[in-house]
Symmetry: C2
Subunit: 700 residues, 2 copies
């Protein structure tokens, strides 16, 4: 599985087309047509036993007859001859083969799925990479290696450029291509990965990011595979300052179901996907239009350092709407200094507004230099990194070319992110010609500014590689869960603050525990066979007398006996305070996951929980918690004391280290509730449940 | 204030232009140019003492010299002559005058504001309506009465049509006009209301809705005035089946601040605005592009009865993204019957997907009739009201004109809402030509479908006129607030379940109250001077002994004495259960408002409160509560009993009736918490605070 052989697929020096057709509108004919049309400089080998030339190119009867082993082979033969063609490729020493035919792993048919597995086995045995099946193909407009049957490259003329597109859907490898080309942006790579029986999107991402021409990478993902490789690609992208914008479908259960029927995509937990992208500096969007919306801004090299925005418009209404929109797109209106406001105002009529958003008003009609004068003042005096110029209506009487020149000058002199919102195409064209990014829709313009600003922050965050600094030892056993005492012990061993408790198996032990723990305790059954005690009424809270403690013990032991379960009882000190939760688990696709948020019954009701990818710092956890709806509780609600947020963060960091270092021994850990005391008082884990991972689960 | 005189402004038979200019690019010249250009059939009277003809039209030296009193006068003179012109208009019997000049109420200058007030006084004294000042003008393309100086009607050729636009911003009266014209949709009315010193947007809305040609009304609002008139207009719109789509700015505090500097707009409470629009069937959007996004669908007359969606595409990825998007836009994927799925599948290859969303796959390339065959099956067998056709890429080899004809046939035969999502302009053009609404962006297409479906539901809700069925009597007084005992008494008098309580002024009364109320009570100071007792530590909860009750009484009475406040103590039975809140108040712009949601300290933290406009039904309250995040509590969380939702709804209805019937006697009522018992156990108001309205506030 070398990236070497994949590089051969992306930048081949020779390409064979198995099933090459003279008809350029057939699957076996179109790649051949494209290779000629887009000036592929390498050797082209049409394979067709029935002809001497195909589309004018000398052809060969078989792969065996070729003068060399081709880097890339396109398999465009009918379904029943595909397997033979793959065997031929493998035998001839082809380095990578694209299989375009459909009807394999994407179906629910066992025979078709088996056929796909056989393809992969054949390829791997020969050290050949397999792309697809069910794959539209690859296109590299830097080299003309366009091994694709998409019609899009007929409709929309290619131009080499700084964008790479990799997609698990054939169509979504070319829809963003079309939208970018409409905006005059060139595309270097447009690759579809098909069923990913062998090569995955993650591998393509890594390979494409090694192309120094790529300055922006777009991904369309239905199912995340090889997350570790994508993480490696994302780290490379950040080192190279290349933004990655991903559509990841399956946000909803209906979307996941649809994805399964499309490419047999495995469902990913959507919140974990978000956390993964966040950790790796990948910006997630919901659709292809959003995916290209900010492309021009990224390609200008804009990586803003702050999120403040200045709006300049000839429309008060545009100003008002911009002010409303700012917060939702992650921007804030810059507070201009009094000096700046005064300077701006000195140019404007009294009924205009010189505070940000700056409303020049219809005074612009009388004096077209006002626009540039506003920008000159801002260039000298504003610290904001984002500028929205909004000209919803300008026409007869306005010097629009002057406005465009003034904006371009401002953009060049400041290096700041500047966009124009103008629904009139005549206005847009003037600005576009000067290089200022233009949006018809002001909200889209602001979304683009906000995205680039927020994404730049994400990209600047330090790259953290998964570590396993902590060595975790979990007792092996047959039960899927540790009992509560074992769970608390494991946590305490790693410095997590477990509630003071005793495991008791006799009334005298219970009585002693009640006394020693301070006279107000909770008494709970402790048995690995019953991980969810509440559901079996095996928890007694607020036990305030020795007599009641003993009675509770007897009752619980009887219930355990009735259930036929071996176990004891835990007596634990009652703790009161804010109920938080911390959880951790291994996601099957994305690895260790940490959850932190509202606990107790509110966990379920409000879903007010943040998801992070460990290892995390206390700062990461703090940021996540302060983004939740419960955030106000941490600083104290209605005169209550602020909570010990530091202690909660520290506990979460430790739990993250435990799951990250558990090496398959732990499947999940659930701490709920974690009682958070007032600032300085710490946290206490009141209930804990550790689930064994495969590595520690001894099957009876 | 007759709508008669406003009708004269919208449909005048004669128009005078005071300050008429020979230069069509001047404010005084452009309306004259437009009246000629757009074929105004009435009499045109340019007023210009210096000329005989203006732009070729015979002119008059003064209004006094006119042969008749004109219906409408445009005042386009320089600032210092405006007041004289208005006096002339008033004296000549003009029915409505548009003042275009700026620099009046929109400034913060006292003299300018006073000048505007004088204009209004002059007009009103003469029975003349005043439009503006700071007003771009009115445009009626049905009659050619285009009394506007916007440049937009030069840039973008008008066509009469079914849309009315009314805007508090000049620019936002023409931006949607431009976007609609780009889509080939005709616009009848495009009116800007300027500063609304006299005539408001609400009045314009009512007047325009009397035009039978208007089938869709767009509003741009910065500040809601005459809400009762807008409510009347909205009722007329629903009777006429005319959808109203409103941009209402000032959603955020920054937006409100910007609006104040734009048109001195008063801030509205944004959640109350939402409730007002909801009550009156007005659909709110955030920007002008959203405002026109679904226009074509509305104008087809589509008023869907259900929200189910069927997706047909040649792209699995489009299907997956549609499935993800559906929920967010208020649609759900239709569950097609087994028979339908089988029938669909019989036309498709095995690797295609016949369940909804329906993925025809690239098989469409081989057989272009597949698209129409899918639609024929759906026409016969599907009950869904919404259809998204998604063709992200079709080109060489696809019979796109056939697809367009098949879609148009389906649309005509079913009468259902059908839209195409296609980013390729070549594809869009084919469909557009057959009348199928086309969107480049699939998400926009789905938003339009979802909006029309949800808005149709809103428009079908019964029209409820404000009533004051309940007669409320509030004791008059000097204190802004009733004390708690008075508050509870008022509520109980209207059938609201106040907690069992006693007002006590002696230790013996307290001891008796403690006994009678069951031995667990809350003891609170009761004094109208201290409406917020908790802030002064004047509440003692969970008093379980007579001794403690007496001690609490003594403590509270001492504290009152220390505060120099006259008052007693309330002893109230403790109630436990879910904490809800119900509130009511009079919004200065929009009238009676009812709030209901999460109570206790969660009110502030989660802002989980719904806002309604009384009178409401129990069903309204229930729908609102079930839309909140606390909704799961009503059906019982983690095995807890379901709550008495019916009782909570009934209490909210009664409070709504009280505020609606209070005729200025009450400013606000705050019931927090309201303890909600298990189903059948009712609710109990534990804390109540009634604020006197102006009508009951006796100033000392």
């Amino acid at each position: 599985m070398s990236s070497h052989s994949l590089a051969a697929a992306l930048n081949p020096s020779s390409i064979a087309i198995v099933g090459a057709s003279d008809n350029p509108n057939k699957v076996g004919g179109r790649p051949l047509m494209y290779l000629s049309k887009f000036g592929f400089k390498g050797r082209i080998y049409p394979i067709n036993p029935a002809r001497d030339r195909v589309q004018g190119v000398p052809s060969f009867p078989s792969l065996a007859a070729l003068p060399e082993a081709p880097d890339l082979a396109i398999v465009a033969t009918p379904g029943d001859s595909v397997m033979g063609a793959i065997e031929d490729c493998a035998n001839r020493g082809v380095r990578a083969a694209i299989v375009m035919s459909s009807g394999y792993g994407e179906t629910s048919d066992a025979e078709s799925i088996a056929a796909e597995q056989k393809m992969v086995a054949t390829a791997r045995a020969a050290g050949m990479r397999l792309i697809g099946p069910n794959c539209q193909g690859l296109a590299n407009f830097g080299t003309g290696a366009v091994a694709s049957f998409s019609t899009m490259f007929i409709e929309t003329t290619p131009a080499d450029g700084p964008v790479g597109i990799i997609s698990q859907s054939g169509m979504m490898s070319v829809v963003p291509y079309g939208l970018l080309r409409q905006r005059g942006i060139g595309v270097r790579h447009s690759h579809a990965t098909g069923n990913e029986a062998d090569v995955t999107l993650s591998e393509f991402a890594l390979a494409v990011l090694h192309d120094p021409a790529v300055e922006l990478l777009l991904l369309y993902i239905e199912s995340l595979r090889n997350a570790d490789v994508l993480a490696e690609a994302a780290a490379l992208a950040r080192e190279r300052n290349v933004p990655i914008i991903a559509v990841k479908t399956g946000r909803t259960t209906r979307g996941q179901a649809a994805a399964r029927s499309h490419t047999a995509a495995l469902a990913n937990d959507d919140r974990v996907v978000d956390a993964f992208f966040h950790r790796h500096g990948i910006w997630r969007v919901d659709d292809i239009h959003e995916q290209v919306n900010a492309a021009e801004l990224y390609l200008k090299g804009w990586r803003p350092k702050n999120r403040t925005l200045v709006v300049v418009s000839n429309s008060g209404a545009s100003c008002v709407m911009a002010a409303d929109t700012a917060q939702g797109v992650g921007l804030e209106l810059a507070a201009l200094s009094d000096t700046t406001v005064k300077t701006l105002a000195s140019h404007l009529p009294s009924f205009a507004t010189a505070i940000n958003p700056i409303d020049i008003t219809a005074a612009l009609l009388t004096d077209s230099t006002l626009f540039g004068r506003m920008l000159s003042v801002l260039a000298e005096q504003s610290d904001a990194d984002q500028y929205l110029l909004a000209l919803p209506v300008v026409g007869t009487g306005y010097d629009v070319p002057l406005f465009a020149r003034d904006a371009a000058t401002f953009m060049a002199n400041t290096g700041k992110a500047v966009v124009l919102a103008a629904p009139q195409e005549s206005v847009a064209a003037e600005f576009r010609a000067t290089g200022v990014p233009v949006f018809s829709n002001q909200t889209d313009a602001m979304r683009a500014l906000g995205q680039v600003a927020r994404h730049a922050t994400l990209m600047r965050a330090p790259i953290r590689h998964a570590s396993s600094a902590r060595t975790v030892e979990v007792p092996a056993g047959e039960a899927p869960f540790l009992d509560e005492a074992e769970s608390l012990e494991l946590l305490a061993a790693h410095g997590l603050p477990a509630v003071a408790h005793r495991v008791c198996r006799s009334t005298s032990e219970v009585a002693a525990a009640w006394r020693d723990l301070g006279g107000i305790v909770a008494i709970k059954a402790c048995a690995s066979a019953i991980p969810h005690k509440s559901e079996h009424q095996l928890v007694v809270l607020n036990v305030t007398t020795e007599e009641r403690a003993v009675a509770a013990f007897n009752d619980l032991m009887q219930k355990l006996a009735d259930l036929g379960v071996d176990g004891g009882v835990i007596v634990a000190r009652m703790a009161r305070g804010f109920e938080a939760m911390i959880g951790a688990r291994i996601d099957p696709a994305l690895g260790p996951v940490l959850l932190v948020g509202s606990g107790g019954k509110y966990v379920e009701v409000f879903h007010d929980v943040a998801v992070l990818m460990p290892p995390v710092t206390a700062g990461d956890v703090r940021d996540a918690l302060l983004g939740l709806r419960i955030a106000p509780f941490f600083s104290g609600v209605r005169g209550e004391a602020p909570l010990d947020l530091d202690a909660l963060c520290e506990a979460a960091v430790r739990l993250g280290d435990i799951i990250a270092g558990s090496a398959g021994q732990i499947a999940s850990i659930d701490l709920n509730p974690v009682i958070v005391g007032a600032k300085g008082e710490g946290v206490v884990i009141v209930d804990a449940l550790v689930e064994r991972g495969q590595a520690r689960l001894v099957t009876a």
